[in-house]
């Protein structure tokens, strides 16, 4: 892979890695009395490791010009592997933290294993580690195929992918040590946030530069969604993380916002992270891999347009529905609620557009677990967006707020929609990337499908039950006019559902392990078939060459 970089790119990689290592060294020295220093050491080792990696093939011959006639897929391949690695780690911690709620002794009296620390390892691990890497990997693939242009250089995609994973490593290792700014889904501290800004702006520029080079007159829908994902996440990340560090040698910082403004900013961020990270980005994924795999045209271009603008416009207002019946002024709650209700229409239009695209391919859905993953994902997307709009209504929220119903809702989206569309897309993408005819074992895809589906259903039903029971217990009055149940009564009532949830999560984790094994074996299979030579038809349009190259994937 390093041999595919030009010598100039190798030099640039070494220079940037050295700068990173120096930065880590400075952090380690400045933060020697603080946990900040530990992160300095991690950054230093990360930089040195990268230098070593590049040096290992530094003297390989310059790659031939012929590379420019092909798409650049090495970062996508590495991104897929990283994504699956994070999936297993993140879901493992998810199962652990679920078990912790049923059996509190599973912290083993260790601070790093307490609920408040491993819970963000789970959420960041699956959202940013698994989801983020899958988005980056597929976006590079989709972007090149739908623009018929090669990525403009070979260095920046690596900077984005590896830089992003450094952020994930800093996030997760920080949580274990207790470093957090205690903003949900935005826990990493100021220095990790700053680093992510650099990485994310590079990602944005890389995307724009490639789009500028496109050989297609129109920009495909998938790219609208990927662009919305990249652009809005940048805005959200920068605004919500505005903070002043205690010093340049300490991890701790203080947010620019306080009180109800802080809460509103956080949930404007939090809900739009759901919208633009977990929805928009994965809709981009769906818009490419689902029609490809089904071999069908998108049901309606016009529907795509109103869905896209409806989703991007309306989501921006919806964050305040996380703060119903709080100190937040009621008018802000009203706006959040009403826009959430209208949002259901473009959301269902997107899900409907995906499902109607399958018209004429339902036989494939039945036979092909990969396509079935994507179909079920679209169904869960529809279910969870309906549920979301429903829960945003103040009267419903008064029952559901602070209960496990919220957790069930999130997982209907995260397991049923985000993870399913990702696994479906990866199963489609992996054989193309490693130039083999199909995945190592279609049977294991089938096994994974049923593990994932049953795990999701068990999880979601358990949390619906426990959430609604909780909500009802907290609002039931006895005939004395006082609360009928104490809080601990509701905790006791949750116990069986917490066990069921752990089982559901465990099934889903097993599915992810099966997927990782299947991908690993596919990669091994590709090595033994190496010289088979394939995929010459999967090429970008060359400067001045004929315009009608058809890709075969």
């Amino acid at each position: 892979m390093i041999a595919a970089l030009t010598v100039a790119e190798r030099q640039r990689a070494i220079a940037i890695s050295a700068a990173l290592a120096l930065c880590g060294l400075a952090m380690a020295i400045a933060g020697r009395d603080d946990l900040f220093g530990v992160h300095g050491v991690i950054v230093l080792l990360f930089g040195l490791g990268l230098i070593g990696l590049v040096m290992s093939q530094y003297f390989a011959p310059e790659p031939s010009e012929e590379r420019l006639t092909r798409y650049y897929d090495d970062p996508t391949r590495v991104g897929i592997v990283l994504s699956l690695g994070w999936a297993v780690v993140g879901m493992f911690f998810g199962v652990w933290v679920a078990a912790l709620l049923a059996w509190p002794d599973l912290t083993f009296d260790a601070a790093w294993a307490s609920f408040g620390r491993i819970r963000p390892v789970h959420t960041s691990g699956v959202i940013f580690g698994f989801g983020g890497n899958a988005l980056i990997a597929t976006s590079f693939h989709v972007l090149q195929r739908t623009t018929r242009a090669r990525l403009p250089d070979q260095f920046s995609p690596w900077f984005v992918l590896i830089g992003y994973n450094l952020f994930c490593v800093l996030a997760a290792s920080g949580y274990f040590m207790g470093i957090t700014q205690s903003k949900e889904y935005a826990e990493p501290e100021w220095y990790a946030d700053l680093w992510l800004v650099i990485v994310w702006v590079t990602y944005f520029l890389l995307y724009i530069r490639t789009l500028q080079r496109r050989k297609e007159p129109h920009i495909y829908v998938a790219n609208w969604y990927y662009m919305a994902f990249i652009l809005v996440v940048a805005v959200l990340h920068i605004v919500n993380n505005l903070a002043v560090p205690v010093s340049f040698g300490e991890a701790k910082s203080y947010s620019l916002f306080s009180g109800v403004q802080d809460a509103m900013t956080q949930w404007w961020y939090g809900h739009n992270a759901v919208a633009f990270f977990l929805t928009s980005g994965f809709l981009g994924m769906m818009y490419y891999y689902l029609p490809k795999r089904a071999g069908r045209p998108i049901f309606s271009y016009r529907l795509s347009i109103i869905s896209f603008w409806g989703i991007t416009f309306m989501y921006m207002w919806a964050g305040s529905h996380h703060l119903h019946y709080t100190a937040l002024p009621q008018w802000v709650q009203t706006l959040g609620m009403t826009f959430s209700v209208v949002l259901l229409v473009p959301s269902w239009a997107s899900a409907g557009n995906a499902l109607a695209t399958l018209n004429g391919a339902w036989g494939k859905v039945r036979d092909d677990a990969t396509l079935r993953f994507m179909m079920v994902a679209a169904v869960f997307y529809g279910l969870s967006t309906f549920e979301g709009s429903f829960m945003a209504i103040r009267a419903v929220n008064s029952l559901s707020h602070y209960t496990d119903w919220t957790i069930g809702h999130v997982h209907a989206g995260a397991l049923g929609w985000v993870a399913m569309i990702t696994f479906g897309s990866l199963y489609a993408l992996v054989p193309w990337m490693w130039k083999v005819e199909r995945m190592y074992s279609p049977k294991l895809i089938e096994v994974h499908f049923w593990l994932a589906l049953s795990g999701t259903i068990i999880y979601v039903f358990a949390m619906w039950n426990s959430g609604i029971i909780q909500g009802l217990m907290w609002r039931t009055y006895n005939d004395s006019g006082t609360l009928a149940y104490s809080f601990i009564d509701s905790v006791v009532a949750m116990h069986p559902y917490y066990i069921a949830r752990t089982v559901g999560g465990l099934l889903f984790l097993l599915g992810a392990i099966v997927a990782s094994y299947n991908v690993w074996m596919t990669i091994r299979m590709s090595r033994s078939q190496a010289a088979a030579g394939a995929g010459d038809i999967d090429l970008p349009v060359l400067r001045g060459a004929g315009a009608t190259l058809q890709a075969g994937e």
Binding site: E216, P291, G352
Partner: protein, 292 residues
Amino acid sequence: MADATRDPVTGTMTTGHEWNGIEELDTPIPRVVLFFLGAATLFAIGYWLLMPAWPLGVTYTKGLLGIDQRKVVAEQVRDAAAERASWTAKLDKASFAEIAADPAVMRHVRDTGRTLFEDNCAVCHGVQGKGGPGFPNLAAGSWLWGGSPEAIAQTIRVGINGTAKDTRTAQMMAFGRDGILQREQVLAVAAYVRSLSGQKLGEAEQARVPAGKEVYAANCVACHGENAKGQQDLGAPDLTDANWIYGGDLQSVVNSIHGGRQGHMPSWEGRLSPTDIKLLALYVGTLGEAKR
């Protein structure tokens, strides 16, 4: 870019766009989508007209219904209090003896006391009030500061070694650590104390009892009393019964004498209303009922 063609499955024309094999149909937006978009938008506009909705500089549109969430919750709290007044009125005014004699009010006390106790007290004293290491058993009838409802209410109100000005204060001195007693004396008095509650002592321990009795008379009587029954106005526990806050085995008793004890109960005044405190005092009094 391909030209628009007719899709054989649906009979619809494509848009003529094509990306790496992906095409799009030119299907019109289904009417049902437009209908629901219109309906949802109308709902939103209607809701904005009725409820507080849009910011106007320093104020906001109040809505035709004039509903305000703060007013609503204040009304609901007031209404609920008025509903409970049927029995809380007597709770507020009557003496503990009068309330205890009124089964109708006591039924409410048991209902409401349980949730109040479990939400506020159970974290230390346990759901059934049986306590645990470091926290007294409230169901045993063995009281540090008195078991009358008046005494219990006072303990809840001011706490023990708490933050209230008139908090109950009590301290068992660290006889061993502070050098008041020698190691042998600590062991001896521990043996004597354990013998008071009729525990089975080892042979060596038994031999220390007479010496321990002397140590006890010289050092412990002031608080725990000559008969070792404790003194409720000082918060000194009874040493002759089977109830031990910090454990009655030899090691625990030695630890208590060596290092002293200073238990803590928060002052609940300000956190719980006077009515709730009165109600809890009555409820705590009922915890031992099942046993007796």
